[in-house]
């Protein structure tokens, strides 16, 4: 029963957006859709507002660095529906030379800090974000530590409070 309903999420998504949904799978029971980054806001709005889907919670947003693959980065959204009690994972690939994706703050206001963290850790830029700056690290920090080519042991000077 649950599986049947879950696949409806992916069916509706592919039915509505066609070739903009690049790939889907339900491995390990998690429904996953890889979509084109250009339409991410549209897709998220659809997932939130469609009466059969109703993904009103955006639980998590993160980046993943697939160094050596092209496009290099992936932005991963985890959504949850309070009404339907189902989940979906939406992913979009962004290339290294142009790591930009539209911000989903207009859809879920709570994604603000999650996008800042993805920027802080991976250098992914969220177009339209009102305050895209570092969140866990400090402004003077150089580089993006969760990128796979950032050495784990690299140390950077600790800076004191700024006047």
């Amino acid at each position: 029963m649950a599986e049947e309903r879950n696949s409806i999420v992916l069916q509706k998504l592919t039915g509505r957006f066609g070739s903009d949904v690049v790939a889907t799978h339900s491995d390990f029971g998690d429904d996953t859709a890889l979509v084109r980054r250009e339409r991410i806001v549209e897709i998220c709005t659809f997932l939130r507002d469609d009466p059969d889907l109703r993904f009103d919670f955006a639980m998590d947003l993160t980046g993943v660095d697939y160094l050596g693959e092209e496009p290099r980065f992936e932005v991963v959204y985890h959504l949850y529906s309070l009404e339907k009690k189902h989940r979906v994972r939406v992913k979009a690939r962004v290339p290294e030379e142009d790591p930009v994706i539209d911000s989903v703050i207009p859809v879920w206001v709570g994604m603000d800090w999650f996008e800042r963290e993805a920027y802080d850790m991976y250098g992914i830029l969220f177009r339209g974000h009102p305050n895209l700056k570092r969140i866990l690290l400090y402004e003077q920090f150089e580089g993006y530590p969760l990128r796979k080519d950032y050495p784990k042991a690299r140390r950077q000077p600790t800076v004191g409070p700024q006047e």
Binding site: F28, M59, W113
Partner: protein, 406 residues
């Protein structure tokens, strides 16, 4: 600075007929209970703008995890929410087990429920106790600190050997079984220590007019706003949304227990207190039922791919010795794939997003800490309120810097 200029231009609208004062709270302040920083712009005592800042406790959990084996990540998870570290252990191994397709034994599931609910109780006790200290009710702090210590002393320490950094769970099971007499001691602590402590604090606070006037209507949030901001756990339920993953996506054996999910109405500090108090009582109900139904049998799955061999075998048997060596040096071998696994931690949804490329260690681990969206919602809860209420609200949303900063 531009904002201050704007205020200065509009100074006529301000109560004090002056520019706003900027008050810095933290990062080391007794009422933040962690290394957090809040920058408040004040007009008199009213908060015009609140800017939370954090990251002081960032220790690179995710980067460290990417360079460790699957089992070595378990001690790192202790340091996320250090007030209820057992829950983080359980949440993490459940995510890895989902990836491996491991079905843990019945006894293991019951023990995991027991340690989760005990952790939930002590987490709520710390939250309520410290929140009450901050607003001037010191007695409740002592009333809740004592049972918390008894839980550590009589239950968690004998079980794990340590108080806070427990690292008790293992992929496919637990570090070891319950020690002798633990079940009786657990019943004893629940009935003779926790229940009276909840009754004491309940008698002192729940109908106390000073407490109610101090907390009711302080830092409220509507259900719609709470959902949009990603609130989970007691803070969401206080706003009237009955989302509890133990009911909505039952994991372990939560579907076998009879318990209720309390909800509030206003989403204010008073409701958050009420919800936490009731959740402690419901956790006690779950513990009693789990102790009654606790099955026998092994706590670890019978699978040498995931579980270390018996120590006696390691000393006498070359296969076991090699297996042990491979486990420790190369780590448990986990298939490639990605999973998101969420559990209901004391503060809300604790999610682990894990990417594996196969092999002995994770490719990526992302923790979804429940505190992160809660702290993000602080300006929404506090702006327009009084500066003294900021402390009451901060205590009641229960920010734990360990999981906030990772």
């Amino acid at each position: 600075m531009a904002e201050i200029e704007a205020y200065r231009r509009e100074a006529g609208k301000l109560d004090m007929q002056a520019e706003p004062m900027i008050l810095n709270i933290g990062p080391s302040h007794p009422a933040t209970h962690a290394t957090l920083r809040l920058i408040a712009e004040l007009d008199g005592e009213t908060i015009l703008k609140l800017t939370p800042e954090f990251g002081y406790l960032h220790r690179g959990f995710e980067k460290e995890s990417e360079n460790a084996t699957w089992t070595k990540v378990i001690p790192y998870t202790d340091r996320l929410n250090y007030v209820s570290s057992l829950m983080n252990n359980v949440g993490y191994v459940m995510a890895v087990e989902k990836l491996c397709g491991i079905e843990v034994t019945e006894r293991c599931r019951y023990i995991r429920v027991l340690i989760c609910e005990l952790s939930r109780i002590i987490d709520h006790m710390v939250c309520i106790g410290t929140n009450m200290v901050d607003i001037g009710a010191l007695t409740n702090f002592w009333y809740f600190w004592k049972p918390r210590e008894e839980v550590y002393m009589h239950l968690i320490e004998p079980l794990t050997g340590i108080r806070l950094t427990t690292a008790y769970t293992r992929i496919g099971g637990l570090m070891w079984d319950l020690p002798d007499g633990w079940v009786e001691k657990c019943r004893d602590v629940c009935r003779n220590v926790i229940v009276p402590a909840i009754a004491d604090v309940n008698a002192l606070l729940t109908k106390n007019r000073i407490f109610i006037e101090r907390t009711m209507g302080v830092g409220p949030i509507t259900p719609k706003e709470a959902i949009a901001r990603g609130f989970t756990g007691p803070c969401l339920r206080a706003a009237g949304v009955p989302l509890d993953l133990r009911k909505d996506e039952p994991y372990l054996v939560y579907d076998r227990f009879d318990f209720d999910v309390p909800v509030g109405e206003q989403g204010d500090t008073c409701d958050r207190y009420m919800v936490r108090m009731e959740e402690m009582r419901q956790s006690l109900r779950i513990i009693e039922q789990a102790l009654d139904a606790l099955p026998g049998g092994p706590v670890n799955v019978d699978d040498p791919r995931f579980i270390l061999p018996e120590k006696a075998d390691v000393y006498e048997n070359i296969e076991a010795l090699m297996n042990h060596f491979k486990h420790v040096m190369d780590g448990v071998q986990v298939p490639a794939g990605e999973v998101y696994s969420a559990t209901e931690a004391a503060n809300g949804e604790l999610g682990y997003y894990i990417v594996s490329k196969g092999g002995g260690g994770p490719y990526k681990i992302k923790v979804r800490p429940p505190c992160f969206p809660l702290f993000q919602g602080m300006p929404h809860l506090c702006e327009g309120g009084m500066i003294a209420d900021l402390i009451a609200v901060l205590g009641s949303v229960n920010i734990i810097a360990g999981e906030l900063d990772r």
